[in-house]
Amino acid sequence: MPSLKDIKTQINSVGSTRKITSAMKMVAASKLRRSQEKAEAARPYSSRLEEMLASLASSAASGEGIIKLLTGTGNDQNYVVVPVSADRGLCGGFNSSINKETFRLVKSLEDDGKNVQLMPVGKKSRDFFNRVMKDKILESFADLNVSVNGYDAALQVSNKLQELYFDGKFDKCIIVFNKFKSAISQEVTQQQLIPLDVSNSSKEENVDDSGAKAIYDYEPDEETILKDLLPKNVSIQIFKVLLESDAGEHGARMAAMDNATRNAGEMIDSLTLKYNRTRQAFITKELIEIISGAESI
């Protein structure tokens, strides 16, 4: 049976853990608010860009050069998968669900006979894939810190991706990330980044103003604009993903820390009960000893 002192130490240590987790929860909550604001602020740009692209995309014929971002290389053999995780842990299943999903995706693509390479973003997925499929890693990014570096963080990833794409290193790029649904729930989502999946975005746009398109004058001309627009769109998509993932990370951490704090509280309660029982048991034992000692005289 543990001594009173042992239990007391245990209570104290659980108590300090609880302090840490509840502090982390508060920090995550305030960071969550900030990154949500950032994600909100980025929305006008990306929605505008998508609109422009949707109205231009229909006019693009297949071609060489930058247009390939839209039309694809014509092949479907080499894939790059970009899992986007957090840089830190202690946020519940946030990172592991990304890693699991990516792992599954890679396996299923390989079963279809494709070549798959990885470009993990974030320390946690980088470390994971360094362990399990090191030979597939093309490039990795960590400490991008999108909430501080902003758009530049996305540019790093996007420039590298485009460089590799135009070198003919891959035909399709799929990004796997946690979509921010609400402060407590994230959804693992796959999105095809290259070539651009117009079918999705244009469908949404068509609903609001189907008649208003294609009457624009283009300066200098459609093709030049498209050539400027496409690389930018890739960067913006990545930027959006990074922001969502950042907000999701804080949300997930908040939920995880809330749980941990609650568990610690429960544990302290049960330990305190045990402590009191033990204390009483000791007292009773001592009393019995005294009484039986007195009787024997």
């Binding site: 950032k38 602020a41 860009l49 624009y216 004058d217 960067s235």
Partner: protein, 132 residues
């Protein structure tokens, strides 16, 4: 006088969102003056000045953009800019130093940056469009 609503958006946030009397944007093939009722145009931009005027043609704000796109229709003008700075916050000495640093580098990226930095310098010195 009529007004046109003007949005200046960078990837990180919405920088300007208000009514204006006239806007000048640096189109790739030359500056575009946008008045209310402008025909529909989509243009890509070169690094340069975006000037926003009030209803009586007084200069409200001047920005420097490093490139991007403009979408113009009769009621609205939207500029999607890669990076936006207000013109009067630019420091000439800092940019000159940046240019010097960039001239020592020799790669594709530094050349692009150099182009933007030179445009910045030009934009600071440019006085035309201040009064119209």
């Amino acid at each position: 006088m009529a007004t046109i609503s003007f949005d200046l958006v960078s990837p990180e946030n919405l920088i300007f969102n208000d009514k204006a009397g006239m806007i000048i944007v640096p189109g790739k093939d030359g500056d575009l003056g946008v008045l209310p009722g402008h025909s529909k145009v989509m243009s890509s931009l070169r690094p340069g000045r975006v000037m926003v005027y009030g209803e009586d043609k007084n200069l409200l704000k001047a920005f420097f953009v490093s490139g991007g796109f403009a979408e113009i229709n009769p009621e609205k003008c939207i500029v999607l800019a890669e990076s936006v700075v207000e013109l009067n916050t630019l420091e000439k000495s800092l940019i000159e130093k940046e240019i010097q640093d960039l001239e020592n580098e020799e790669n594709k990226k530094s050349k692009e940056k150099l182009l933007v930095a030179n445009a910045k310098l030009e934009a600071i010195d440019a006085k035309f469009y201040d009064k119209i």
